[in-house]
Symmetry: C2
Subunit: 254 residues, 2 copies
Amino acid sequence: MSSNGRIRISGLLSPAELEQTLRRIGADRYHSRHPFHKLLHAGKLNKGQLQAWALNRFYYQSRIPMKDAALMSRTSDPDLRREWIRRILDHDGSGPDTGGIERWLRLTSGLGLDAAYVMSETGILPATKFAVDAYVRYVRDQSLLQAVASSLTELFSPSLIQERVAAMLANYAYVDRKILSYFDARLTQAPQDSNFALDYCQRHARSVDGQQDVVDALYFKTDVLWAQLDALYYAYVEPGHIPPGVFIPQTDNI
Amino acid sequence: MSSNGRIRISGLLSPAELEQTLRRIGADRYHSRHPFHKLLHAGKLNKGQLQAWALNRFYYQSRIPMKDAALMSRTSDPDLRREWIRRILDHDGSGPDTGGIERWLRLTSGLGLDAAYVMSETGILPATKFAVDAYVRYVRDQSLLQAVASSLTELFSPSLIQERVAAMLANYAYVDRKILSYFDARLTQAPQDSNFALDYCQRHARSVDGQQDVVDALYFKTDVLWAQLDALYYAYVEPGHIPPGVFIPQTDNI
């Protein structure tokens, strides 16, 4: 453990030990534990707060294919690119209205937000942009191994998604299965993606330094996700803290 | 006004009108209005909260010379570089213990934080890093005019600093003039810097688009400053919200 509570790797781990370490980080740091998600899943958010969550998360979704393209731009290995391109296709689709980003817009529209407003990005919290943009740049600037490893939060997303879909359907009368279609697709996409990324990291992190890079990349990514929920909680759960110039829920939604 | 409350420039402004517009943005968006500063100046923060503020702000200070070097790396104009280099010298000093960063460490040390811990950056909020790093990259990646304009928050800092120094001396028994020496120097440095930057923007923003770039750069920078205080408030004023892996105040300081 280092002074900031992060795991330091002192001797080379076996592939199974590396996986175990990564899963321990997920158990400690994945945003499933964040208080904003607790409120969301307990049905304790009002419609304006759900809108703020979906709106800000749209910015994250919109940057994922850019992040994946940045990763692909860095490798001369066609095998890796052929595997990774599926992520872009999943998010963008093969034509209008077929990809994950547009499925996310079904959620924002289903919650009553105008799609043009969402896509304009004018209502997004600056803190959301700072965190998400840091992720895109991390993938562009750090080692290819770290770029791949920063996707490993997907190891933990299926159980969070299952909990979320059940909780949202149970707790919010205006939420139906159709506007949650993004999550259905992710339940099959995420395991395929994360299995590949985990295997890649296990095969390519063959030194203590390399394994530490993998671990640090996952910490970085959990920070990116956690910070987005911190900002949402501060701005939209605590009264009176919405920063200047961003989305303000209509009074009939609060 | 646009949908996010930002001023849109519709016709070319005179230099005086541009300055007036920039000062209006400062009045609306500068972090002097942030609730965290209200608590700080009213003497309502405990020592642990002051430590968290000084610790996180250290990260900002530490990146300012990197930001200024990034700006200087982009211009072939020796006049601009000769002017701008003073900012780096102000922060780094001409030898050990003479620059602004080390004066900031007098504050963190005076508040009881170990300097090695502060400089290790291990306790910094991820949101602080995301916001500050976004600023450095903005200066590196946007136009030179926008890079200069993003420094214009210094137009508004002297009055905030004067208010802060008086308030901190009055309200916190363990704060003395010596540990606030960073601010004394800034009172003469900031006006020199911001007068130059304002004049530069007035001379070089000769189109509506250029003036809009200047305005947008200042909005961006106010967001960078505001988001840092949002994150501090959420983590250290609201109980129970400190994100994983960052500075935790000792119980005798809260």
